[in-house]
Symmetry: C2
Subunit: 343 residues, 2 copies
DNA sequence: ATATGCCGTTAAATCGATTTATTGTAAAGA
DNA sequence: TCTTTACAATAAATCGATTTAACGGCATAT
């Protein structure tokens, strides 16, 4: 029982394959094909469960119904959740997803874009690493629908979805300041990406406005957590006066908590904690960690909506839209007011 | 600058496209094509960066170089990590991954298998839900390489990779028994899947052997965590005598910890905890939760190795191999000996 | 002189669809 | 009667590769 093709159907019904194709693609009316014929064909196709070969279809039409999704790391809960939501929405709209992790590696990302192109994906959803501007530009120049998310490329004009990073860290830092913390550190990964820069800026702005001295630690990313925990460990030992830490990402936050545990520091008595991104680790830490929650559903929704929009209206609108979503500061015990503790 | 095809290359070099194809597919020697011609073609192809259209290639050859990966839920850290590792290995071997989440939903999974078939994926990696036996069998009957993991289907003879679930829970339960716990509960999702059944059995075996009474809670899975925490909450309130809990999965474990926090129970004084799967939440909980760590790298490695093996040796070996890997019991404070606490 | 075999290359068939151009027939209009 | 129009369906071209079968030329064997 091998798969049957449109020719098999045509032969069996003594009709030309052209007619079959027209009927199956809803062009029966337009092509004024007889009603009984249409029904006869549809009934038979239904009966034998014929499905057109999508490869052949793609080859001819140039559309693949596949969306390429490139995240930083699919095993990061933030990206995994987004991927999950995007996957759902995409499938509901008849699109499949090919995903991959860029590791923020420029050359790997170039390769992957090549692969996607090669596979004729219809659209691209990308959390872009630095240095990928030219490739994205060329993608857009060739008329491919592209939506960036989580960050954007200042030198490339394209649609993107992100959150208000600067305000988020500014606001959260202010929250710490207002509770009486004086020596607030900011620990993050070293990165030129817009979202990371904005977060850092928000932190600095808040401290400057409050007349406090910033003290930031930027760690080079590495797959090996030990190489992240090491610098944090050193940093905390050297700067005993720090009374609050702001972690720039969930990953660095998790590593930070491990270090804090190892050092036997007490939260929030020794140290107040806030981290970007919310997930179970922060909820279940004792005491629970105050976190900046990204609106994951809204991000996924926006991304897919914008992309589907571009896919359907083949019109080459010159304008590109950028969507900036709000975050939520989930206040928990880990940044309890210093004053009230003292009192 | 649109994409060029093999015909463009052929025309430009005044050679037939057949020759180009042979050269590009390494069949130059076999077809005794002149050395200088080969070099001339290779140089030009390199120069203009020509890449054969993979759709056309797939259509003709029937191979897509794509592997379909179906996990239960890509946003679950266990599956996300596995997916990540498999992705890496696959890319290194020239394969891409299309993934999707089954949600353990049989009809959704049937649909997805259909999609994969339609896309002519070369091989399947599946964490199968119940009731999908027939579809998998038909896949295998049609000669498709299939590797199951995390669980298997007793009625289907196929390759699979999993861990020693029964021994893992047996061993961990014994660990609790030896430390003096008398009322050990087992909380898990209601499921007929082999891995869940085995885990339950291991727990029961250990208790029986120790002359203790089992008390298991099976929760119906739901996307909404509240509907998981609810039953746990009720269960714990009703059974005050419980002095240790064994969680059957990381997800149920995480929900359980939330309930325990809400109820203000102290670990391990009020309650000892062990959970299946290890991840950051358990490491960072206070005190850290004893967990059964699955050998994620080994699982991913085995899965991809077995699949690549099947892909390369097109021979239809009748035998199918099953790989069973060992887990590691990571003992932490959360199951501290009851005796020593009392002493 | 004819057949056989080897070389190096290529024309043509194929994969399975979509799309364009074309055909044949019957009814309507001149 | 002859042309036009509308209708219903199809033959053939196309997408871009791989693969099969074939071709012309030359050397060697019969």
């Amino acid at each position: 029982m091998k798969k049957l093709s449109i020719v098999d159907i045509a032969n069996h019904l003594n009709v030309s394959k052209t007619t079959i194709s027209f009927i199956l693609n809803g062009r029966a009316q337009e092509k004024r094909i007889g009603k009984e014929l249409v029904e006869r064909v549809q009934k038979f196709v239904e009966e034998v469960g014929y499905k057109p070969n999508s490869l052949a279809k793609s080859l001819r039409t140039g559309k693949s119904n596949i969306i390429g999704l490139m995240v930083e790391d699919i095993s990061n809960p933030f990206f995994a959740s987004i991927a999950r939501l995007i996957e759902d929405r995409a499938y509901k709209n008849g699109y499949k997803i090919i995903y991959c992790s860029t590791d923020n590696d420029t050359s790997k990302t170039k390769d992957l874009i090549g692969m996607f192109r090669d596979r004729h994906v219809d659209g691209y959803i990308i959390a872009p690493p630095e240095g990928i501007e030219d490739d994205i530009s060329s993608l857009i120049k060739d008329g491919m629908p592209v939506v960036l998310f989580d960050r954007h490329l200042p030198k490339v004009s394209t649609d993107f979805v992100e959150i208000d990073n600067l305000f988020s860290t500014y606001n959260a830092t202010m929250h710490l300041v207002q509770r009486g913390y004086k020596n607030i550190a900011y620990i993050t990964f070293a990165s030129q990406q817009t979202q990371m820069q904005d977060r850092m800026q928000g932190y600095k702005d808040a401290l400057k406005e409050s007349g406090l001295k910033p003290s930031a630690l930027e760690i080079t990313f590495d797959q090996n957590d030990d190489l992240i925990m090491g610098p944090i460990n050193t940093f905390l030992k050297k700067n005993k006066n720090i009374d609050a830490i702001f972690f720039g990402t969930n990953h660095v936050g998790t590593c930070g908590l491990k270090v804090i545990n190892n050092l036997g520091l007490k939260v929030p008595d020794d140290l107040a904690i806030i981290s970007f991104d919310d997930y179970d680790v922060f909820k279940l830490f004792s005491p629970p960690v105050t976190a900046i929650a990204q609106p994951i559903e809204a991000i996924a929704d926006s991304v897919i909506t914008v992309l589907l929009n571009k896919l359907n209206t083949s019109s080459q609108h010159i304008s590109s839209q950028s969507i900036v979503l709000k975050t939520e500061l989930l206040m928990r015990d880990s940044s309890k007011s210093k004053v009230s503790v003292t009192a």
